[in-house]
């Protein structure tokens, strides 16, 4: 059994930013909360499913809300405890571990703080292997577990338990509660036993995020090291020449254009964005598409750039690599394939779409 300590947090944060594929929220506040909680409560044990009894309760947690709000009205340290109490009330026994619902972005880092505050281990797994914008876009839903329980707690101590009829209703109702709570809340979506979690969560992703973050430390070639660590395809290295954004239905959509430089001079890649980077196109041809991962990084530092921070003139490299096989199943593609985001495209894996290495 390993553990997550203060010294792991910067690497975890960098890795989670890369896995955020442009979305998932800023990792900074979550990092500060994690460091603070570890200093106060001690390091967080990182466990695997095999370390837990079959009937142990695992609580997948995520922050939900508007980024503008969570940047200002930061979580209360009491929120995870209220959810744990409710789990114990409902199931008759306390939770044994917590899990990140979404390893990409802030929800990959903050669970370290929540686990420390609860004195519980963190499961080395998550529900996405990346970031997605909607509540039902999780591996548990794809694996066919009934989405019949959502528990939310807010900053003043309200606890709301929802028994939705399916994943789409859990998104709709959770969103409404979140708005009433001031546009930020902590949410447990599904409560899993170890037995049910097998095959329904994406394992090893916390360790993976830390490895990705560590890969770029102390090297003269952070970009090469990151690409190797991800086993990613380099779609283009160039300059960001245009970003167009429009806000529709609460989500930011947009298009970013990258003109190749150096060896890629003369090439041009366009990225379709909706909170995350979803489709990469070149000469009218798709080079990579959701649910495969597409991340824009600073060419010099290999640090991931969020979609809202994309700006004209940045020197960037676009990397793409395969998603977890779960997302490539028919139900996975129904849930988070290109058509789930409104693109009339038949999914093809990134490794089949690309001839460049």
């Amino acid at each position: 059994m390993s553990s997550v300590d203060v010294s792991d947090i910067p690497a975890l944060a960098r890795g989670c930013a890369v896995l955020g594929t442009g979305g998932g929220g800023d990792v900074r506040t979550g990092s500060l909360a994690a460091i603070r909680a570890i200093r106060e409560h001690g390091e967080v044990p990182l466990v695997e499913l095999d370390d837990l009894p079959e009937d142990a309760l695992i609580v997948p947690l995520s922050g939900i809300g508007a980024p503008t709000v969570s940047h200002e009205m930061i979580h209360s340290a009491d929120e995870p405890g209220r959810i744990a109490e409710e789990v114990e009330r409902l199931f008759g026994r306390p939770p044994s571990a917590i899990m990140s619902s979404e390893i990409g972005g802030s929800n990959g880092v903050a669970p370290v703080a929540w686990a420390a505050q609860l004195g519980l281990p963190l499961l080395d797994a998550d529900g996405m292997g990346r970031a997605f914008p909607e509540v039902q876009m999780v591996s548990m839903y794809v694996a066919g577990l009934p989405a019949d329980l959502v528990i939310m707690s807010d900053i003043v101590g309200n606890v709301v338990t929802i028994r939705p009829v399916d994943g789409l209703w859990s998104e709709r109702l959770a969103r409404a509660v979140c708005v009433a709570a001031g546009s930020t809340a902590l949410m447990a979506d599904y409560v899993l036993t170890t037995a049910r979690a097998r095959g329904a969560v994406i394992e090893g992703t916390v360790t993976r995020a830390i490895e990705i973050g560590r890969a770029t430390e102390g090297t003269a070639d952070p970009l090469g090291a990151l690409q190797e660590s991800l086993d990613a395809v380099r779609l283009i290295t160039g300059k960001l020449t245009d970003v167009e954004r429009r806000t529709t239905g609460g989500f930011v959509r947009g298009t970013a254009t990258i003109e190749g430089t150096g060896d890629d001079r003369g090439r041009r890649l366009t990225l379709e964005l909706q909170n995350e980077n979803l489709v990469a196109l070149e000469d009218g041809r798709v080079r990579a598409m959701v649910p495969d991962l597409i991340t824009v990084v600073d060419t010099e530092t290999a640090g991931a750039i969020q979609t809202e921070a994309l700006r004209y003139g940045q020197r960037v490299t676009v990397l793409a690599w395969p998603c977890d096989p779960l997302w490539r199943t028919p139900k996975g593609l129904d849930t988070a394939g290109p058509r789930a985001f409104g693109y009339d495209l038949d999914y093809l894996p990134v490794e089949e779409l690309t001839t460049h290495g």
């Binding site: 200002e72 930061i74 009491d78 003043v156 001031g182 609460g250 989500f251």
Partner: protein, 529 residues
Amino acid sequence: MADLPELRIGIDVGGTNTDAVVLGADGQVIAKAKRPTSPDVTEGLRAALDAVLGELEGGWERISRVMLGTTHATNAILERRNLGRVAVLRLGAPATTSVPPLSGWPDDLREAVSAGEAIVPGGHYVDGREIAPPGLDAVRRFLDGVEADAVAVTSVFSPAGGEHERLVEELVKAEYGLPVSVSHEIGSLGLLERENATVLNAALYGVAAHVTEALVTAMAERGLGARPYLAQNDGTLMTLEHAARLPVSTIGSGPANSLRGAAYLSGVSDAIVVDVGGTSTDLGVLAGGFPRESAAAVEIGGVLTNFRMPDILAIALGGGTVVRNGGIGPDSVGYRIVREALVFGGATVTMTDAAVAAGRSPRGVAGWRERLEAAVQADMSERADISERMEDILERAVAIADETVIDAVDRMALGRTDRPLVAVGGGAFLLPDVIPGASRVIRPEHAEVANAVGAAIALASGRVDTILPAGDSRSEAIERAKEEAAARAVAAGADPSGVEIVDLLEVPLSYLSQPAVRVHVKAAGPLAR
């Protein structure tokens, strides 16, 4: 009010040099001086002041204003010196307790600044509801247990409603007699960054008093009856009383002054400004005569803050940047350039030497080319075996420097190529005459003291950054924000009859229950007499 023939002095304390200028009644530069910045800052300030006064032939009584832009505050934070101890109060409980105040601060800075931290009930939701009534008794209990020089108060969503911060400010002043920084006067949305800026502001009260005293004393010693002002980081001025409340606003005033000075000297109000110093080059953008502000959080002394700062891109290129076989910099000979560069008869190859070899020299210098040629000749005879000739090294240094500048200009221009580039600073001669990304290169007279000129331009400003409902009450609320910004400009020293709204920005917010807009208003006007 009739214009009296008056003179203005602008002083800018930079990292290497302290510059001073005198502007005449018609706004022309009638005296200028450059002196090395002294370690205690104040001596360099006096020397520069004496130098420009010496250039005037009497008429000191016509000097009506002295404006100072200084790095005192920045230095105090970077060196952790002369900082006050601050009681840090946050109103937001039970929210925000997962990340307490000063999280992520470097230990030594936190130790130097913090007298204690507390999160007490208070603050607001995004829609204006109270999270909790302000916990005044908790404030008293906290302050009874700390020994502080000042108090910093940050309330959740205070940029949209600062009344909880005001209540605590009144309490602290009435019951404890301590100076108070309130966050809604200092930063915008983003609790931790705004709180950090507010704490730094409170820690700088002593530094502000010291600067003020140094300036007032220096003026009194010289019999100047002029009114003193301090420059702030949006390129405008504030009265000493205002500066005493908002010392953090002086951080970044140097680049802002140089931008405003560039606008003034060149007569253009929309431009890319490139300020080439001895060690580094600062690029900024003038929009409507004022510095474009940074959209990102700015780090000061290892602490992230979000108060307004000019959007500056600094590159390691200056007149003293060392040139060697294989590249340039990032090290620089700095102020030692006048002894060490080849054009001064020294033995270190610098960017100044490379520029002179490429036919680029400042106006009115004598003997540079000759000394450089002599050095190149000597080098050739001494080191005939070296594969690379000095001339080639110099030529390549200029090519690298030009490419770096062109790249940086492109980053700052955000795709627009129709604006001119104004070249200022002591090393402006390094820049080429043609830069893709700029319509033309303007080299105004007195460009080497553009920062001091910027300080001498007499404008004061005020700003409001808040969240407003997007519905029917929107236009009324925006009018109120404009009035508030104008009132703040007057508080900073502007003439009420001359205040104008110079910037109004509305950004719609997503993901919220009620449609809302984030509004930024800035007002500016000439200083009152």
